[in-house]
Amino acid sequence: METQVVIIGGGITGVGLARDLALRGVSSLLVEAKDLCAGASGANHGLLHSGARYVRSDPAAAVECRDEGALIKTLASHCVEDTGGLFVAVEGDDESHIADFPGLCARCGIEAREISVADARSLEPVLSERLIAAFQVPDAAVDPFHLAFDNLSEALQLGANAMLHTRVTGFDCDGRHIHRVRLRNELTGEETAVAAAQVVNAAGAWAREVAALARIRLEMSYSKGSLLITDQRLARRVINRLRPASDADILVPGGTVSIVGTTSIQLDRLDRIVPTIEESEAILQAAAVMVPALATTRYIRSYAGVRPLVASSPGDGRSLSRGFALIDHSADGIDNFLSIVGGKLTTYRLMAEKAADLVCHRLGVEAPGLTRTKPLSSFAANQWTQAGLSPRRWMQAGDPEDLLLCECEMVPASAVEAVIAGIRQQGGSVGLNSIGRRSRIGKGSCQGAFCGVRLCAYLCDRGERTGRQGLEDLRSFLTARWRGMRPILWDTALLQEELQEALHCGYFGLELSDRQL
């Protein structure tokens, strides 16, 4: 195998880079150890920042967000819900912070319009009665999965290649040059190698581990952030708390739900990135000051991601730069290796562009980057993460043979087929987790307890999985969903969990080993 560029990491930066290079006619192979958006790219708010959040702490990042957010709204509008945003303060919040806000926004060129508290509460009735200030800003919501999948699909269409569930196990170096990247398929154990002229480390939180394979030390700090998903959408707009960054200051609409977070917890290791009960309590209590309904609403699950931050000193993850770093490893003794780390979902395009510029410079490619002007193509296989789409399509098509495999989110077999086709194109592996990642399956109130069984039966039935593989797949799917359910298991969610356990343990006996079944 041979390619011009190996891109390590299937998060938003990696896929953005694959597309950018493909548009310049440079061939690449993207390798991802797990699945697309397995790290922070799949575990964030889905907030397309106007930049207003960073006007005080990091004006440069604020300006980047302002520009990049505007570009994404224009060039990838099909992944964006342009909700607008509010910054609000409640009684007790720092008055000087509020007073400074419009000026700081103006200095960064970010439009922030003060509105009356009454107007804010009429725009978003869930806001607290204790509101004391409100500003409108051009924040928006973005579907990070849809955005990432379309970036990769466009890259693949232009000739790039991708291998998912493929881990980089080492680099074969020749002096100051990596000439081959060694790979192992994490599902089959099969080992391969690929020859490349340039290697880009876009492994997000795992960039340090990748760099270490080339005996390069990369200083990073890890800040875990957890979020909660409500059962229903509570607000039309993004709502930010106008105060110095703290826990649970942002409520973002995510289609039919709302997402509230985040926490910031310093991590030393990346082996267990799960949301905790303590975090869910902290989020709920803090966010309820801004939106009181958050204290009583039903939650559907929680999730956690790690902010990969470039830093050498520990501290609160929020106070470190949200800017990114493009690290040329020539200084570390390898001339065809670079790392692109840090940054934000909103600035992914810029990060990819800067990395591509350096790669192309090294390759002697003069073609200019096109992602600043060329709209992102939309691919039918990638649209199924969008809430409400599959029921709409299903009703419109009216095909009685097209059975709903997921009843909570109304995902029919036809949508599953489209998703499976997409997975194959992406070089992925067809299973409950990969289909769940690319659709609404398992995202409703049953959290996979019932649709998991139906989808498992469907996959085994069409020969994608043997019966035993299906059992393993189901266990893995339920295990993953459950980690997000555990922090919110009270009231109705606890009842739902009991039903799930009665079915999967009481009846199916999935907690027992296959030998006993």
């Binding site: 009685p400 498992c456 039966a457 035993r468 009231d491 606890l494 027992l512």
Partner: protein, 435 residues
């Protein structure tokens, strides 16, 4: 609210799961004037398999062939498990009395004397249980003898793939063949529902069509397995009729709940208990209850608003857990919903669940519940009975994990039997059975 004439009875049973239904039967059999109140609850989710005791200790996942030996080991290791209050003779009598009733109401069960059986599930796993509806029995026998069988699924019935089941079961039961049946469907709908198929198969025409659809696939097999669709109220008659048409044994596999198996139990209980003179307030709830130190319990019953009042000197609480509505949790604490009884529970939500769903030890919150004395009376914080004539039975009891131990039905039936026995002893007088 207008004043209502209260309904008087000897015993009011709250809860219509396996424990409440069984308690109503035992009470009626002992001549008590009995009222049964509850929503359909979780019984429609029942597989109708009668688990007695299957796994102990759950940490090791040890599956027992002999449930009585398993109970003895459990009681030795975990003396607070409710089974410790139930001599094996009592458990045996309770199960026999219940199964006799179900058999008399056209829902017979089968099993091996004193031995667990393994039933094929809709995922192709083998579930350890004690007694199975007769309609499942040929499958248990065929699996034990590894007979070549045909498994058929139905076009449009979701979550049930014969191919998947045969594949998953192939190591323990080779020689399973599969086919897919296309049965008559409602025009314009591709999806079929087990309940609708089952009701259709109570008609001769549909049984003929089923037999015709199966006929071409029978060469070389000795029995046929189907999802549980063989009727609701007359499942044995449906089974026998199709068997006769096929000339070979037929068996069912439970589908994903809610399915026909829970409905059969529900309908059989409702019919049989009504015939025994139990006053049924189904699809109702006890909305408020008072617990006087002397005199009758007063229970306000209705669907949303109180519609009637029941006065009874004795109450059996068989309201189940979270699904049944007997327990409810807020973010901090688990409560009992009717009398706010003390609930034995882990100290705080952080300790309710393990970090992994399938942790073999099970989740501590599933052992939370109401603690009882040897007379099956809930205890207060000081360890004394909350009330002399208030009893509890079934999954609301603390110190058990029915889902992991596979003891749900056995515990429900036997604790109901014991609670009724205590109630009878405390009534102080016996009435002749009502006609």
């Amino acid at each position: 609210m207008t004043a209502r004439e209260p309904i008087h009875c000897d015993l009011c049973i709250v809860g219509t799961g396996m424990a409440g239904m069984s308690a109503a039967l035992f009470a009626a059999n002992r001549g008590l004037r009995t009222a049964l109140v509850g929503r359909t609850g979780e019984i429609i989710f029942a597989t109708s398999l009668i688990d007695l005791m299957g796994v102990h200790p759950v940490e090791s996942g040890t599956v027992w062939a002999d449930p009585w030996a398993a109970i003895a080991a459990l009681v030795r290791d975990q003396p607070r498990h409710p089974y410790a209050l139930l001599p094996s003779e009592a458990i045996r009598s309770a199960i026999d009395e219940l199964l006799d009733f179900l058999e008399a109401n056209e829902m017979p069960f089968r099993g091996h004397p004193d031995r667990n059986v393994a039933v094929l599930t809709a995922l192709g796993t083998a579930k350890t249980t004690y007694r199975v509806p007769l309609t499942f029995w040929a499958g248990v026998e065929a699996r034990e003898r590894k007979r070549p069988c045909l498994l058929a699924d139905v076009q449009g019935l979701k979550g049930f793939s014969a191919r998947q089941i045969a594949s998953a079961a192939s190591t323990s039961w080779p020689g399973l063949r599969t086919t897919r049946l296309v049965l008559p469907r409602v025009a314009g709908s591709g999806e079929v529902f087990a309940e609708r198929l089952a009701r259709a198969l109570e008609l001769d025409t549909h049984r003929r069509l089923l037999a015709e659809a199966l006929a071409p696939h029978l060469a070389g097999v000795e029995a046929v397995g189907l999802p549980a669709i063989l009727g609701i109220s007359r499942s044995v008659a449906v089974l026998r009729d199709v068997e006769q048409r096929l000339g070979m044994p037929l068996f069912e596999i439970p589908t994903m709940p809610p399915g026909t198996t829970g409905l059969r139990l529900k309908e059989t209980f409702e019919r049989g208990l009504g015939a025994k003179g139990v006053t049924l307030f189904l699809e109702n709830r006890v909305l408020a209850a008072s617990m006087p130190s002397s005199g009758d319990f007063v229970l306000e019953v209705g669907r949303i608003e109180p519609e009637l009042t029941i006065r009874a000197p004795m109450v059996i609480l068989a309201t189940g857990r979270f699904m049944g509505g007997g327990l409810k949790a807020d973010r901090q604490v688990v409560r009992e919903t009717l009398f706010d009884l003390p609930v034995h529970q882990p100290a705080g939500r952080a300790h309710w669940h393990r970090e992994e769903f399938l942790d073999p030890r099970g989740h501590p919150v599933n052992r939370a519940g109401v603690c009882i004395d040897a007379s099956f009376r809930p205890l207060d914080a000081a360890g004394r009975p909350v009330h002399a004539r208030l009893f509890a039975a079934g999954s609301i009891l603390a110190h058990q994990d029915w889902m992991r131990m596979k003891c749900g039905s056995g515990l429900a039936i036997a604790s109901a039997w014991a609670a009724v026995g205590q109630a009878v002893g405390r009534l102080g007088r016996r009435k002749p059975p009502s006609s």
